[in-house]
C-alpha cells in the first residue's frame, strides 16, 4: 500500500554567462577560487585567509582562516577541465564541516561555450535531503530514548 513516495528538497540551480572561454572560466573557478570566493562566507570562527580547491578527483576543497585553523568544504568527485566539475559539500546544517560523506550534499558546475568567446556556467547544488539525515544524527546524539526510530522515519521521509 505504501509506495515509495520520495520527498526531495529542490536543488538550487544557478546560471551565469561570462566573457571568457570555457577553459579559462574553469581555471578561474577552480585553481583561482581564492580570487573570487567570498571571504565572508567561511565556516570558521575567524575570517577566511585562503580558499583552495585541489585539481584532481579526490582532491580536497578547503579553507584556511586568519586564526591559523582550516576546514574542509568538500572533495572533488568529477574533474573535467573546461567542461565539468562535481564536488561534495561537506557542511552540515550547523554550518560546520562534517566529514561523514553519506550526509554530504553536492555541487555540480558545467561549462559550455557560447557565441563570441562567452561561456555559460551552470551550477546545481543538490541532495539536500542527505543533510536532513545528518541533522537527524546530530539530534539523535543530543536527546534520549524517545527519539528512537523517529530519525530514521524522518530520514526516509525526506529521502
Amino acid at each position: 500500500m505504501i509506495v515509495n513516495q520520495t520527498i526531495q528538497i529542490a536543488p538550487v540551480r544557478k546560471s551565469v554567462v561570462v566573457f571568457a572561454a570555457p577553459e579559462r572560466a574553469f581555471e578561474v573557478f577552480t585553481a583561482r577560487i581564492d580570487s573570487w570566493w567570498p571571504k565572508s562566507h567561511g565556516i570558521g570562527a575567524a575570517p577566511i585567509r585562503e580558499s583552495v580547491l585541489e585539481g584532481f578527483v579526490g582532491g580536497r576543497w578547503y579553507t584556511t582562516f586568519e586564526d591559523g585553523t582550516e576546514a574542509t568544504v568538500g572533495h572533488v568527485l568529477a574533474w573535467e577541465p573546461g567542461r565539468r566539475l562535481v564536488v561534495t559539500w561537506e557542511i552540515n546544517e550547523q554550518w560546520k564541516s562534517d566529514a561523514r560523506q553519506q550526509f554530504a550534499s553536492e555541487v555540480e558546475v558545467r561549462f559550455s561555450a557560447e557565441a563570441d568567446g562567452h561561456t555559460r556556467v551552470e551550477l546545481e547544488h543538490r541532495n539536500f535531503e542527505r543533510m536532513g539525515a545528518a541533522a537527524g544524527e546530530t539530534m539523535r546524539k543530543g536527546v534520549d530514548g524517545g527519539w528512537v526510530g523517529l530519525l530514521q522515519l524522518f530520514a526516509n521521509a525526506v529521502k
Binding site: V16, F19, V28, L123, M131, A135, L151, A157, V158
Partner: protein, 106 residues
C-alpha cells in the same frame, strides 16, 4: 532553525503516526483519524502543529481540507544557499572576465 523545529515536532508519537500516514499520499482529517486511536479534533491539532513546523501543508477539496507532506519543509538551508550562490557566482563572473581581459591584452 526550522530544521530543528521540524524534528522536535515529530518527537510526539501520535504526530509521528499522522506524518507517517501522509507518506503514502494526501489525506483528509477523517481518513487520518480512522486508523488512529485518537479523536478527530486531536488529529486536527497534530496537523496544525505539523503545519506550523513546515512539515505538512494543506489544500481545499470541496468542504474538506486535504493534508500532504510539504516537500519544502527542510528548505531553510536551501533558501540560504540560493542567495549565497547568487553572490558567489557574481564574484566569479567579475574575476573570470578580469582574468580574460588581462590575457587578451597580452
Amino acid at each position: 532553525m526550522t530544521y530543528q523545529k521540524a524534528l522536535e515536532c515529530l518527537s510526539d508519537p501520535t504526530r509521528r503516526s499522522v506524518f507517517e500516514k501522509l507518506r503514502s499520499g494526501p489525506k483528509s482529517v477523517g481518513v487520518l483519524a480512522k486508523g488512529l486511536p485518537v479523536s478527530r479534533p486531536a488529529v486536527s491539532q497534530h496537523l496544525k502543529a505539523l503545519k506550523e513546523a513546515g512539515l505538512v501543508t494543506d489544500r481545499a477539496d470541496g468542504t474538506r481540507r486535504i493534508y500532504y507532506i510539504d516537500p519544502h519543509g527542510l528548505g531553510e538551508m536551501r533558501r540560504w544557499l540560493d542567495g549565497f550562490w547568487d553572490e558567489a557566482l557574481a564574484a566569479f563572473k567579475d574575476q573570470a572576465e578580469l582574468v580574460n581581459q588581462a590575457h587578451r591584452k597580452k
